[in-house]
């Protein structure tokens, strides 16, 4: 996939996330892209003070090589990496979370005599518990599997012409 196409697909995925009430996921991806990544590289170090003309030693026939050291450099993500990040974010937010819900639904049903509601609540005054989503997950299992395989296919397309 070309860089331009990667950018177009990424924008469409981002739009999809926002349409599906996953604005917070799209925002997190944007933030990560904005921050960029760090890359290690070896750089010649000039950590000795520069000599003035009067202090300069007589010209030597052997030139001294500058020492090298490892540095971290902040660089931008490539369009291909940006798209890969967006695919991963969608997978974490929908597929992985859905599969965790399926596991939890099964885990809890096996350990309670009657179907127990699962709720989440902060330890604060005047707040009502909110129902969890886990009971809704098993019905989505087939679609979650399908989505994982589609995302894997898209990932393959992204890296296909990378080398």
């Amino acid at each position: 996939m070309t860089d331009d196409k990667c950018e177009v697909v990424r924008r469409k995925l981002e739009q999809l996330l926002r349409q599906q009430h996953f604005e917070w996921v799209a925002d997190a991806v944007e933030e990560q892209i904005r921050l960029g990544k760090t890359k290690r590289e070896v750089v010649e170090v000039t950590d000795e003070p520069e000599l003035t003309l009067s202090q300069a030693p007589p010209a030597s026939p052997r030139r001294r090589r500058a020492p090298k050291d490892k540095f971290l450099r902040r660089v931008e993500y490539t369009p291909r990496e940006r798209l890969t990040l967006t695919i991963a974010a969608l997978e974490h937010a929908v597929v992985d979370a859905g599969e965790i819900g399926i596991h939890l639904n099964e885990f809890i049903s096996k350990r309670t005599r009657r179907p127990a509601q699962v709720l989440f609540a902060p330890d604060e005054d005047n707040t009502s518990p909110r129902p969890s989503s886990i009971h809704a997950m098993p019905a989505k299992e087939k679609h979650l599997r399908k989505l994982r395989s589609l995302l894997a296919e898209l990932r393959k397309e992204v890296t296909k012409d990378a080398n």
Partner: protein, 227 residues
């Protein structure tokens, strides 16, 4: 039509059928993840021969399971919070909690996302509910910091974990950093400091799940020997 467009159209359709609209913030997935790690601890205990059952803060068999979304006192009665009792034959009972404060070595309160502690310690705290007693770090067998993120897990979270472990040390138990990804910087930092890290911990990575459960099982096994 290019293959990417076909794929995108299919993805759009399937996401519409799978997305959970109640997951409206990062914290919703964190709550789910803490409960997931809680479930793995209980499964590991059962595989080691324990009986596990749910109880609320008053000691009753709960009709609805209520878990904390933020840190709170173990004895809090603001909600009828649920914990699990872990009972190995002829051994002191343990309890597994989500989102409780624990007293550190420096006498400051630390949040533990998931914690397994002696039931006697939990009972002491509940019996003194008006005084807000916190369990002592030395009575915490397992503590797990759980981080579920859709984008990179920041290094600062691992640095925070290192600080936590310094103040809630353990003699016989374990402290785990459990995450859903494998970010290079976090992995390097925790490997360098020889801390327990469970990375890529999701149902789709059964190998990682098995490794973490084996680690929990080892802790329970040592507990059974020691009592």
């Amino acid at each position: 039509m290019p293959i990417e467009d076909d794929l995108l159209n299919e993805i759009r359709t399937v996401v519409g059928q799978t997305a959970i609209t109640t997951h409206t913030a990062q914290s919703d997935l964190s709550d789910l993840y803490e409960l997931y790690v809680f479930s793995l601890i209980l499964e590991a205990a059962e595989e080691e021969g324990a009986q596990c059952y749910f109880r609320d803060v008053l000691g009753n068999d709960p009709t609805a399971l209520i878990f904390r979304t933020g840190p709170g006192d173990i004895a809090s009665t603001r909600q009828n919070y649920t914990h699990a009792v872990i009972q190995f034959p002829q051994k002191p009972a343990l309890e597994c909690h989500i989102g409780i404060y624990v007293q550190g070595q420096s006498e400051v309160a630390h949040e533990c996302d998931v914690a397994v502690l002696y039931q006697t310690e939990a009972q002491t705290c509940r019996a003194n509910v008006g005084h807000g007693l916190l369990p002592r770090y030395s009575k915490v067998l397992i503590a797990a910091e759980c981080k579920y993120y859709t984008t990179d897990i920041k290094l600062g979270l691992a640095r925070g974990f290192l600080g936590l472990v310094v103040d809630i040390p353990y003699y016989y138990g374990e402290r785990h950093f459990v995450i859903n990804q494998s970010p290079d910087s976090v992995m390097k930092l925790l490997a360098k400091h020889k801390k327990k890290l469970a990375h890529d911990l999701i149902p789709a990575e059964p190998g990682e799940v098995t490794k973490l459960k084996a680690s929990f099982r080892e802790t329970f096994d040592r507990f059974k020997v020691r009592g």
